[in-house]
Amino acid sequence: MLLDMASDLVIEASGLRKSYKATLALDGVDLQMARGEVLSLLGPNGAGKTTTIEILEGYRRRDAGEARVLGEDPQRAGPAWRAKRGIVLQSCEDVVDLTVAECVDHFAQFYPDPARSEDVIAKVGLSAKSGARIRSLSGGQRRRLDVALGIIGRPELLFLDEPTTGFDPQARRQFWEVVRDLAREGTSILLTTHYLDEAEALADRVVVINRGRVVANGAPADLGGRQSAAAVVSWAGPNGPERERTDRPTALVRSLEERFGGEVPGLTVTRPTLEDIYLRLIGEVGGAADEAGMPEGAR
């Protein structure tokens, strides 16, 4: 029973700690991720997102704590383990004179059981650019190539670190489709992002990190008691806009309908957005004000 549960977790980390010189970046982070899950790590700059994800990717050593990713300790695991997880890093600047197809083919050579390059290129929507030099791609296209390089090895677990930073809205939507596609195929995805709507659109579960600690953990819709929080009903009254906070918005709307004798002008009912909740979460513990004091990754 216990063994079964363990094998269903692609990430199990507890008490992760990491300091850069005098700066404490991670102060005991616990993180679990089930197979097939899309988990989004949120937090202000310097909160410890990148440090956490780099420890799990195998790029960084932890000072203390336990970590198992796909059943192995990432700082000891070898090539066979690296073949099972994919990493999407910041954009490709090193091989700009190759074509898209050459670059994807190249990375395919490193994996024991890669996907076909042309399939991966099609999946990220770059088929038309297959023969184009990477130098000539737009920022969004390069990012999609990065994803192609991250999934060419057919990973069980994919790390996506701020994948859509700098995208225009349309490119973000297209990118989300690629991620959803991978999730549908059963790829487990750990995603860090600055965009709350992105986390809400893609993630099954959100973990908020602030000052090196996990401050919230839950489905985007329930995070921080969002589901049960008071709703705000607003409408256009005879003397201008009116609003009311209520735990029973349906009853209020019904009474408004009676008062107006039908359609309520300018009616909206809102719960706090994920962003409201998030800002409250990171505000509660000091949050973004500390940004300057804790450089992300201490580069």
Partner: protein, 282 residues
């Protein structure tokens, strides 16, 4: 060829043994290094042209034959330019290219894949070998037809030419890899690598004849590989009586020894200092 959205990606190849994986990854690295090199066409043309142009300049400034000999100045300068060219294609190229790949995340990306890490260095060895051979051949051939430079006269001189090139390129490459970790960024890598290189080039008789160097300076240069590479090319391309001038002697036994020591030391240094991520990371 397209994939329906939601369809799982099909496998492209079968599983392989670690040895196959290493060979495949090494060949892939070599191919990409070569492709990248030859696609930056301006860089290729200008790198190959530089020693030829320099030889032309030097040959026109110091035209004719060296006083009291039957040897053209161009023959003497060719030996120095061969040594300088070798240092550029191996030491300088690797120091700058690798620090660039470290800075732009290329190395980090490779380290994140299951690529056997040695394969990266095999790729570098392939590109250094090809560029070095190309530069040497271009200089010799253009020198021969434009400035009357003669090739090594005997088989044993050809042998010296080849082993000095190979051993020198290995030693200089390894030191270049080590130096790439010293520079903070690609922009600083070129000056960081160029300063010691230029100093050594002057001390080793690459640009100025060894006869005009003080005994002390030339002996100090004996600690470094470049002097022995330059000396090896002189041994391959100049008549024996050139050994009679001050600092003129060539000692190929010591050359092999010093270059060999630098290969070992360079390997140890490169292995100890090499980082796959940028400074301050990991």
């Amino acid at each position: 060829m397209s994939v329906a959205p939601g369809a799982a990606l099909a496998s492209g190849y079968g599983a392989r043994s670690p040895m196959q994986a290493f060979v495949r990854a090494s060949l892939a690295r070599g191919k990409v290094e070569i492709l990248q090199y030859f696609r930056s066409r301006e860089a290729v043309v200008f790198t190959l042209a530089l020693p030829v142009v320099l030889l032309g300049l030097l040959a026109s400034i110091f035209s004719g034959k060296i006083h009291g000999t039957n040897v053209r100045f161009s023959q003497l300068y060719t030996t120095g330019l061969l040594a300088g060219g070798l240092a550029s294609t191996s030491f300088l190229n690797l120091a700058v290219a690798i620090s660039g790949e470290r800075e732009n995340g290329g190395l980090k990306r490779l380290a994140g894949t299951p690529m056997p890490r040695t394969a990266y260095f095999v790729g570098k060895a392939i590109v250094v070998f090809v560029t070095c051979a190309l530069e040497t051949v271009v200089l010799l051939v253009f020198g021969h037809f434009l400035y009357g430079v003669s090739f090594p006269a005997t088989l044993s001189r050809w042998a010296i030419f080849v082993w000095v090139t190979v051993l020198g390129a290995i030693a200089m490459s390894l030191v270049g890899i080590a130096v790439s970790s010293l520079a903070r960024s690609q922009r600083s890598a070129a000056p960081v690598a160029n300063l010691p290189l230029l100093v050594l080039e002057f001390m080793s008789g690459v640009f100025v004849p060894v006869t005009s160097l003080s005994k002390g300076l030339y002996s100090f240069a004996a600690l470094f590989p470049l002097r022995w590479i330059a000396e090896g090319y002189r041994a391959a391309l100049l008549p024996n009586y050139f050994q009679q001038v001050p600092n003129g002697g060539w000692d190929m036994g010591t050359a092999a020894l010093v270059l060999g020591i630098w290969c070992v030391a360079g390997l140890a240094l490169a292995a100890r200092t090499f980082r796959w991520t940028g400074r301050g990371e990991r």
